[in-house]
Symmetry: C2
Amino acid sequence: MTTESQLSLVDDLDASVSEVVTDELSLLAASTDRSGSVAAGLPLAVVRAHSVEDVQAAMRVASAHRVPVVPRGAGTGLAGGAVAGTGHLVVDLSAMDRILELDPVDEVAVVEPGVLNARLDAAAAEVGLRYAPDPASAAICSIGGNVATNAGGLRCVKYGVTREAVLGLDVVLADGTLIHTGRRTMKGVAGLDLTALFVGSEGTLGIVVGATLRLKPRPVSTLTASAAYASVAAAARACAEIAAARRLPSMLEFIDRRCLEAVDRFAGTSYSERGDALVIAQADGPAAATEIEAIAAIVGKEATWIEQGVDEESSDRLVEARRQVLPAIEAEGSWFIEDICVPRSRLAEAVDRISEISQRHGVRTYTLAHAGDGNLHPVIGWNPSPDDVPGVMPPAETLAGDEIFALAIELGGTTTGEHGVGRLKRKWLEPEIGADSIDLQHRIKAALDPLGILNPGVGF
Amino acid sequence: MTTESQLSLVDDLDASVSEVVTDELSLLAASTDRSGSVAAGLPLAVVRAHSVEDVQAAMRVASAHRVPVVPRGAGTGLAGGAVAGTGHLVVDLSAMDRILELDPVDEVAVVEPGVLNARLDAAAAEVGLRYAPDPASAAICSIGGNVATNAGGLRCVKYGVTREAVLGLDVVLADGTLIHTGRRTMKGVAGLDLTALFVGSEGTLGIVVGATLRLKPRPVSTLTASAAYASVAAAARACAEIAAARRLPSMLEFIDRRCLEAVDRFAGTSYSERGDALVIAQADGPAAATEIEAIAAIVGKEATWIEQGVDEESSDRLVEARRQVLPAIEAEGSWFIEDICVPRSRLAEAVDRISEISQRHGVRTYTLAHAGDGNLHPVIGWNPSPDDVPGVMPPAETLAGDEIFALAIELGGTTTGEHGVGRLKRKWLEPEIGADSIDLQHRIKAALDPLGILNPGVGF
């Protein structure tokens, strides 16, 4: 796009939307996200949407100019789904952050996309409710991004992912049309499930400008048990035994020694002295106390160390090790987080093989997992060097990362459990889901966005 | 279609699939379903599929002949979604009824579409698991049909509907292509959620030939409380109070006096002496005993009668009244079951208005509801007469039925909570979801089925 046509685009936007910015700092910020990936070049402009009409107007202008649009929320994505570069127009939804309605009787919230996950949950808490999906970034990620990626979290082992919490959506299509999907009732099957189609579509089919969400009763009690093990295999066996005993933890996290050592360096703790792997399990609801007892008995069998929370406060303290993992890894240098998910029965095998791959390539890999879902986050870390290309891993790390993706597929799993495909995992999509499925997705995309202007280069 | 081209179609099918039938009895059976609706004329032929290849071959032949195809499972649909008439080819999946895999560790089942819901649940029970979605027709309905309609049931107030239980699907598209959607891991966001798109699509986008399903731990205990009330309003208040106390029953059913009287006539019971409305609540899981105590205390406040199960057996007995409702209504003549869903807070208003509408039109309406979801089933009954057109309600009943649909929309609800749109509720779709949404669905349909041969006249 020439500078002249850029000027014409910005002129048209200026005439139609409430806020357009083109200063370099704003453009730079929009060219990256929390994945660390950086787009080639800077986007043309950022529309800061303050209303649904702003988004509609922006899409009409973008359609008229045939300009690709990158929707953006809080920018906390880990797959490069909101990274905008040369020739892109950014539609930033973060200022649309009102909780429009919170109905304590119907247990429904209606929100704008920029509302932060934790803020909604806190508002729900005031009436004894909870917004269940809790990505680790809950404090800083927004509902729109959660919807775009079908975000998971720690509690989804019991409460399901974002899709299960979304009853309906307001979506602006590529041509500026506003459509409403779904409903505010608990059930409904009138027509195709367009809501689920938009959830997880990473901004490629439309821009979410409103969401009707299902809230759930806040559990009366949440209790934690944590245990350490001499080996990854023993930790995995403990996780498997919880499932085999048909217990349903509300959280079941796995952390390897590499993570624990990073936390120890970061926070001055001594978690890594406890063993080679740590498991943190929670139970919630009216039977939390008896459930956590049963779970503690199971995870205690082979443990080198175990502790059980006696109340909410001591329980919450046991989750601290998990909370510190990502900050601790970030403090050690550059990093790339993978997000593979395997059948739960393959968890131990996956951890072992990741470790073998990392050693073979001389790569530093920290592995944590939502063990109850078989969802592993191997984090590849490296020391930054002046030769680094922003957002690109060095060669050995890239090879190791690729082998881990291939491993996920080999074990009957997926290359992304909850973060999305974004720009960073595209080459793994076809090996995983096949060309026929991708072709079908392109046909659906073409039906909704015939000009192909919505987040091109992201996802399928 | 002329007889000659019909012969040519059947010849081509004979050469490609393992079983084609054209006898009148089979064609008659395929021209109706449990909704009582009857197609105009008889279909051309029925392919009894015995393999995925059969379905692929049938679709290739149907594409070549441009013949519309009606997929059929157990024929228990209540919206006319599987009713085939003149010019239609039926693909009957009921013989594909194998449970291919039941993995007790990963808690996953892989099944063919003809497997009956209750049979899968019984198989899961042998390893301490459960297939959670439980439509009232569980004993006679098949998984393929459950997927096609996104079937609900009594337990979905706690465990979610069919969509939440489906991890992946094998689907034959209109041109005979076989695609695999989803995965067998608990989570996964690689690409668009095609699985959810096919769930509830009523055979209009593809034919489900296999399903990978998530099983859940079977609860250790399930206990029931039942209470009767002097008024519908009091019963609705009790249901609302359970939610307000943030209790999560695993079942919460509402039955009105008209239903109770029908059961009494049918089964010689005396339920209707207890009050004007009956509520049946269940709690399950490790806290079932304390939960049902708390629920019983709530529902007991305004009750004219209350009973609480002391064990599984006495608990199960309290559900008997609910189980008898549909057989009892069927015994009283012709009937049409509606399936509206309203925000839970509007339940009492909905029941009252249904009663007012029925009285005004002099129509007999029995109302039962999955109260925890706000999902009402008003059943309109009438005495069959020689003037009746099969599958069409008499004039007064039609007017009352239409007003009830309109009421659902007025109350912010939907005209179908779990049965589907089928052929019977099509005229209500646009008033409910709007022309833009229907247009979008047609664009998706055209992308997947460009010849428009899959179940035309059904759904959107």
